[in-house]
Amino acid sequence: MFNYTFHWNQALRSLPQMLDGALVTLQIAILSMAIGLAIAIALTLFRLSGNRILGGFATTWVEIARNTPALFQIYMAHFGLGNFGIHLSPYTALLVGIAFNNAGYLAENFRGALKAIPDTQARAGRSLGMTSLQAFRYIVMPQMLRIAFLPATNQMVWAILMTSLGVTVGMNTDLAGVTQELNARSFRTFEFFALAAVIYYVIAKAVTLAARAFAWRMFRY
């Protein structure tokens, strides 16, 4: 069946290069997650504010992020913004695209989490003399983040997997990009990408386990 000799050595020899790529992947994922988290909290506040323009803006962002492919969003950042004279490098375009996507999904998670918190709590805070921002900051947000933590972990894994899309806009420093470049030099497609798949799997599992340990440490009653 296999009339093909696997050359694993070649792939294993470039493992250090690929691990460097994995670091870039992780860096993009973490940065995009941090930016996405900040924007998602802002979008949640916009939705809660009752202001129709801000609320509409937040809803539009969430619906566009959730109803178009992540790859489309990265293309938009890379090719689409060129129309306005903004030329982003593949790294920035990837970061912008994934952060946009993360913000939309996280904002939706937060909305679900908010539903689980009785609004009497925020009102109790208000009647204790807190401003509405204080009530959100000290009463609602900690609980919201706790409930949304597990979905956010999933989103983090998604962010790591999404970074592989950078290779389609010419990214060559992250794990997928490095692998593609090594592949273009040697045509050992299967070996290199199988190794990349193993690295992605290990990263994803490590992040999941770390998040679980963190949640156990932080959210124990």
Partner: protein
């Protein structure tokens, strides 16, 4: 931006791309759902110990980027000299990807049926199959349909990645037009609008069903 060189034929080209996206999605979701139901049943019936290899294999499909899976699938089919066209390869890989997620949904749905209800069915003399067919299936469908709709939309969006194997679907079609007409923003906006029009109503339907069918209301 509005003085466009886009012609009617280019729009038809985009529509054909959208048709390809829908076709890949339909085939993969159909095959993936069948596989997912089978795997889900195996996982529920065999228990965590015996289905551990299956669990691991499916977990791999959820922890490795789809792009890498597609490249690997394509490399594997050429190594095995299967001679599949990109469409078949894409559908096979996407089906397995869908199946991995669908298994979790099916498992969750079956798990949401109260064991007492199933025991009641069995003590009324129903066979395992009758229990599955008349008790578990309706109740589990009610729980898992909204997330299944979410999965279908997810696969529809992820199917954009098959452009890497050279299949001309919606995003690739718009990229070809961008290369030719040099109007990236306008064409990408049309492309995004098409994705949005396909996805948004179905997502809304899913949200409605989730609200309408949630068991505790």
């Amino acid at each position: 931006m509005f003085n466009t060189a886009l012609t009617w034929n280019d729009l038809v080209f985009l529509a054909q791309g959208a048709g390809m996206t829908l076709m890949v999605t339909a085939v993969s979701v159909a095959a993936g759902t069948v596989l997912g139901i089978v795997f889900g049943l195996i996982r529920v019936q065999c228990g965590p110990y015996w289905s551990a290899p299956l669990t691991f294999a499916l977990d791999v499909f959820r922890s490795v980027p789809l792009l890498i899976q597609l490249v690997l699938g394509n490399a594997l089919q050429s190594i095995m000299k299967l001679g599949w066209p990109p469409f078949t390869t894409s559908c096979v890989v996407l089906s397995l990807y869908t199946a991995a997620y669908c298994t979790e949904i099916v498992r969750g749905g079956i798990g949401a049926v109260p064991p007492t209800t199933r025991r009641a069915a069995r003590s009324l003399g129903m066979t395992w199959w009758q229990d599955m067919r008349y008790i578990v299936a309706p109740l589990a469908t009610r729980v898992s349909l909204p997330s299944w709709i979410g999965l279908t939309l997810g696969v529809m969006k992820d199917s954009a990645l098959v452009l890497w194997l050279g299949l001309i679907e919606l995003l690739r079609a718009s990229q070809i037009l961008v290369t030719r007409l040099q109007e990236p923003l306008f064409i990408l906006l049309i492309c995004g609008a098409i994705y949005f029009i396909i996805s948004f109503p179905i997502a809304r339907l899913g949200g409605y069903l989730e609200k309408r069918w949630s068991p505790n209301d």
